[in-house]
């Protein structure tokens, strides 16, 4: 055990309080994720102050549980990796300060990690995938295509210019009276629905490039719903299923078509082991997954979908980035300062939230 490095990972950038212990030879000794869904359920989205309060009081317990389940103590750990952004700053702040306290008290090196890099390098933790591979990160907070060339080298091909698809799933679920989180409940409702009942738009589908938009789609669902309500005073279970199925079908079409273009661009680099990897909660959607699987097999590209607990937010991926960075002698973010915005590819800043504070992700 002594010769193989072990890293403690800490993640608190959104609404999951997470800690994990991962070895350099890709073994996840523990991965604790305490989600806050119940705390936010009344508010129709993650409330930053509620998330920050929960992280500040739960994160050290998550770390203790992760160490105990891995059957190690801080003395067995070689480094601590912590999410330093991008994300909700209150939670990131708690995670970084807890990690700084742990590092000061234990004398361990501390590595500040980009949350998106965590998702982007997960296929190497789960499948030992070789660089360069194409990554579709599609979650409640993010949606982008990246060519992953190395642990610190990312080329951003495109992404959403407004909402993330996961956010759209949650909002549409609410509009249809379905439970949160929206992904699973829309998927279940859609099973008995007709996906052609409503002709929802596919924004930017015919536009060149790999940028996407989901905000207009959400508004279209709202308009169709309101039209039904003004006619009948409510929506039937059949309307609910049809709306869910038609919405899900539009999201899938968008993601699959934009993935096709991203794969074309990626294949121009002649990768040795061509692969499309996905991460994020939306990658768990059966229809999206089937669409991408079908596309990749047609294009002779391997499809890698890590197991769901490693697709959604977790700390094992953060610990893993620590290993990847240490392997190439990268110190992580220096100096380590919590950042709400931290784009992966600074050469091509996102169109998302690019106000005076710069690109968000």
């Amino acid at each position: 055990m002594k010769d193989i490095e072990i890293i403690l990972g800490i993640e608190s950038s959104c609404d999951d309080t997470a800690a994990a212990v991962v070895t350099a030879d890709r073994r996840i000794l523990s991965s604790i994720v305490a989600d806050q869904t119940m705390l936010h359920s009344a508010f129709g989205g993650v409330v930053p102050e509620i998330a920050a309060r929960a992280h500040a009081e739960k994160l050290d317990f998550a770390v203790e549980q992760a160490l105990s389940e891995a059957d190690v103590t801080l003395k067995d750990i070689h480094a601590i990796a912590v999410t330093a952004g991008p994300g909700l700053i209150g939670g990131v702040m708690s995670g970084v300060m807890l990690a700084k306290g742990l590092a000061t008290g234990s004398g361990l090196p501390l590595i500040g990690v980009n949350h998106l890099v965590g998702h982007a390098l997960t296929p190497r933790l789960t499948d030992d995938l070789a660089f360069p591979y194409l990554m579709l990160l599609v979650s409640g907070g993010h949606c982008q295509f990246l060519i992953v060339n190395g642990p610190d080298q990312f080329e951003r091909l495109g992404g959403t210019i407004d909402d993330a698809p996961g956010e759209a799933f949650d909002k549409v679920a609410r509009l249809l009276g379905l439970s949160q989180p929206g992904g699973p409940s829309i998927e279940i409702a859609a099973q008995s629905g007709n996906d052609k009942a409503f002709a929802f738009p596919r924004p930017l589908l015919n536009r060149d490039g790999m940028d996407m938009s989901f905000s207009g789609l959400k508004t279209a669902v709202l308009r169709s719903r309101d039209a039904i309500i003004s006619e009948k005073g409510g929506i039937s279970l059949k309307d609910q299923s049809d709306l869910a199925a038609s919405f899900q079908s539009a999201v899938t079409d968008l993601l699959v078509e934009k993935s096709r273009r991203a794969i074309q661009v990626y294949l121009e680099q002649s990768p040795v082991q061509p692969a499309l990897a996905v991460a994020g909660g939306v990658a768990a959607n059966t229809l999206v997954r089937a669409g991408l699987k079908d596309l990749t097999s047609k294009m002779s590209v391997e499809f890698i979908a890590p197991p769901l607990p490693l697709c959604t937010d977790n700390a094992a991926m953060i610990a893993w980035v620590g290993h990847e960075l240490r392997r190439i002698g990268h110190p992580g973010m220096t100096p380590l300062v919590p950042r709400p915005r931290w784009p992966l590819d600074p050469r091509r800043p996102s169109m998302l939230g690019s106000g005076k504070k710069g690109a968000k992700a």
Partner: protein, 216 residues
């Protein structure tokens, strides 16, 4: 209290950053800087400086004391998260100390204690002898009942002193020094980990889109 007790105290609950090292029955070294932002970066450095000035080893600490507010939510969480990480790594207790206790330390008169609250108001606690009032919010121009002969102390206490016509006193100790001293007395009996003293619920409004009626 035995003389070999050593405690590190710190506080970033307001527009400041402060740290103090208490050992051998007194504060040996301390630092305080006015600071509106940047505490997350400055606090660990300042603690290292305070420990070095006292030639003290962080591994020899008996306990940690940390300010829990009331005050700036983010600032409070910066210190508390750091304290909880440090305490876990060192295997020692972290003691949360509220800022009213810190202000009142070393005073024996009846007191009106004040801390800045949002929108020009104050958080107020009144101490008469051994009696400690609940924390209330008070805005200048409104009535406030307090024992005659009480002094006032705290943040912007001159405003209270003018408004209420009472004597203003400076706090005897800087926040971090008071917190270290108080924690030195309390750490053996402390069970709970420090948590922020929030006097307001989280700013959050329930979803504005009502769910549709489902016709069955």
């Amino acid at each position: 209290m035995s003389d070999n007790v050593s405690v590190l105290g710190f506080d970033t609950s307001g527009a400041h950053c402060g740290a103090a090292y208490f050992s051998g029955g007194d504060v040996v070294s301390a630092a305080y800087e006015d600071m509106k932002r940047g505490q997350a970066e400055r606090l660990p450095e300042m603690i290292a400086e305070v420990m070095e000035a006292a030639d003290a080893d962080i591994g020899q600490l008996s306990a940690i004391g940390v300010g829990v507010g009331p005050g700036n939510f983010t600032g409070i969480r910066i210190s508390i998260s750091y304290a909880r990480g440090l305490a876990m790594a060192l295997g020692i207790p972290a003691v949360g100390v509220d800022l009213f206790d810190a202000l009142a330390l070393g005073q024996d008169r009846d007191m009106v204690l004040c801390l800045k609250a949002p929108r020009d108001s104050f958080y107020i606690q009144i101490r008469a002898g051994a009696e400690v009032s609940d924390i209330t919010t008070w805005t200048p121009g409104n009535d406030l009942t307090f024992p005659s002969g009480a002094i006032c102390l705290g943040e912007n206490a001159d405003i209270l002193a003018n408004e209420l016509g009472i004597e203003r006193m400076p706090a005897k100790y800087a926040p971090a020094s008071a917190i270290a001293r108080i924690a030195a007395h309390r750490f053996r009996d402390t069970v709970d980990r420090p948590k922020p003293l929030y006097l307001r619920p989280a700013d959050a409004a329930p979803s504005s889109t009502p769910a549709p009626t489902i016709i069955t």
